[in-house]
Symmetry: C2
Subunit: 381 residues, 2 copies
Amino acid sequence: MTFSFAIENTDGRARRGVFTTPHGAVETPMFMPVGTLATVKALDPDDLTAAGAQMILANAYHLHLRPGDDLVRDLGGLHRFMHWDRPILTDSGGFQVFSLATLRTVSEDGVEFRSHVDGSLHVFTPESVMAIEQNLGADVIMQFDHVIPGQSDETAARDASERSIRWLARCVSAREALPPIDGRPPQALFPIVQGGIHEHLRVEAVRAIAGMGDWVGFGIGGLSVGEAKPDMYRILESVDDALPANRPRYLMGVGFPEDLVEGVARGVDLFDCVAPTRMGRNGTVFTPDGRVNIKRAEFRRSDAPIDPSCNCGACARFSRAYLRHLFVTDEILGLRLLSLHNVHFLVRLMRGAREAIRAGTFASWRRDWTERYHSRTSTTA
Amino acid sequence: MTFSFAIENTDGRARRGVFTTPHGAVETPMFMPVGTLATVKALDPDDLTAAGAQMILANAYHLHLRPGDDLVRDLGGLHRFMHWDRPILTDSGGFQVFSLATLRTVSEDGVEFRSHVDGSLHVFTPESVMAIEQNLGADVIMQFDHVIPGQSDETAARDASERSIRWLARCVSAREALPPIDGRPPQALFPIVQGGIHEHLRVEAVRAIAGMGDWVGFGIGGLSVGEAKPDMYRILESVDDALPANRPRYLMGVGFPEDLVEGVARGVDLFDCVAPTRMGRNGTVFTPDGRVNIKRAEFRRSDAPIDPSCNCGACARFSRAYLRHLFVTDEILGLRLLSLHNVHFLVRLMRGAREAIRAGTFASWRRDWTERYHSRTSTTA
């Protein structure tokens, strides 16, 4: 089997495992940096390797619009195009169609929308998205789904979840009908569990999806989209109970350090979020003591690194004073160094979680980490 | 002697040598990337090392304004601040005061000006600039000089040149009066030969300066500031004839690839220019066949690197199509990769010049290089 998932330790709901793909193995729990447009913003592929990133994400919606998935296909697929030879996952564009694009018309067939780049008219259907994701050539491809706001009522949530499941069936058929691309390794289609903040809808979705096949892994969608944190945690627990234990679970679009720790505590294996790079570009860094904005006046003459315990390319070489100077003067190197630190921070956080799970000390590790992260009275970022 | 210059080969006016500083040796002719604000824009110090850069430039005017030269001093000097342990040269701010700042008042004492950043009032004198450059701690520091437009008439050029020479004497006295900073290696003060496009003024300036001491090296200023190329070449030849042969000559603010080749042909050893990084950020790359803008439509599907003969981090890994995509989508990685390529190009160009000088084939190397660089009928950049 080209794809496999081996759970090596569990500790409560938390799991430590290895997810194997045609482009190599990923230790879970793992954070995947987001390379929306086939580049993790401000970073080089070598930076990602140095940070310990093992798998990254790219986005079908964005790459379909620019440079075009056909172009990426003709140039050998995403791995070659962006010079990243480890695993890649592509989001299906469901989230972007519902959040970025304008003038959407949703029908059972799919979604008609206008590009956020140039206003041009496009239609995404399960069939067209499967073709796009095949062209891009990621290891894991997500189904096209109907994404709704986090606080949607049950009727809207049920409607979107059931449509997503019907679209999943069409994704499967579409893939079977697509002629293969020569020389390309197999791809794994992940279904996406929807259902908003309604536990029974989530459980129904899991049952329906699980009944449709033996999936390589599962996406958990529609969380961290405006709902309260307790709602997210509650839903994660019910989904954890319902999903088959022996497949990786990917919590889409999550998240911040505390979200990752809480997700791991509820059986999540894979995460992605633009937060580390977006916040890095805004001058905000994650530290074990919480978030900090590098532009703080108190850092003006600070000879210390962002985080003395960190060995990333920013902390190992540069003072807060230098990084602050780069931000105050709008120097590009600052964007890269802070993005690098934040990605490194999340990758390292998940390494810590894996070690705690292996040692059977995840509960105390989680408690200690959380207490320290939230202990500081003043976080300005 | 902490500083030394050994000429290993000459070929016509061209010289191949080694300029030794407290932070190591520099093979000449050499191009120095410009790190105006203690960062070569869009690049990491590791990128510069990988590109083969041996010495870089930073700017006293900019660093005095932000973050403040006193802050850089307190944090251990420029080398430590920006994590660059090879030689650094600081420009004195003369050029910036006359080009960037507003509301200048020039007197024999110095120049009063308003900061281009916040409009605050500052005064640069030979004495204050020597203190600033000591605080920054570069290996080579340039004298404070009076810079005039390239086409200035003889009266203005003479006035500025003679003032620059009087300011040079004050720079020397000021340095003697400055208390040393503990733990800092010695710095070499380079005088700057001015005189506009008037050969006899240039020769007079060289004689006056050479009569003032045994300088470690010489700056040649006030060129590439609007004058015609033949004027620059003519002046370089007269300065080459007048300067002592056994000291390195640094042609300030020059330049483009063709300017470097012509400068080497006229006895120049060191060059600096923001062109490679500025043009890189604008999407323009140097190639052996001339300049090219990466955004050209013809590159949309090009699987070839910018320059197949180049082994920089852009050319060794990425296609023109990918680099074009990064620029079309305003991705930061594109700024870095093209800056990296252009710096690599100029460093490699000077390596080619050194090898030709050593082999005694500089004349034919220069002719072949120039013919190819200018051969393409359509350069869009």
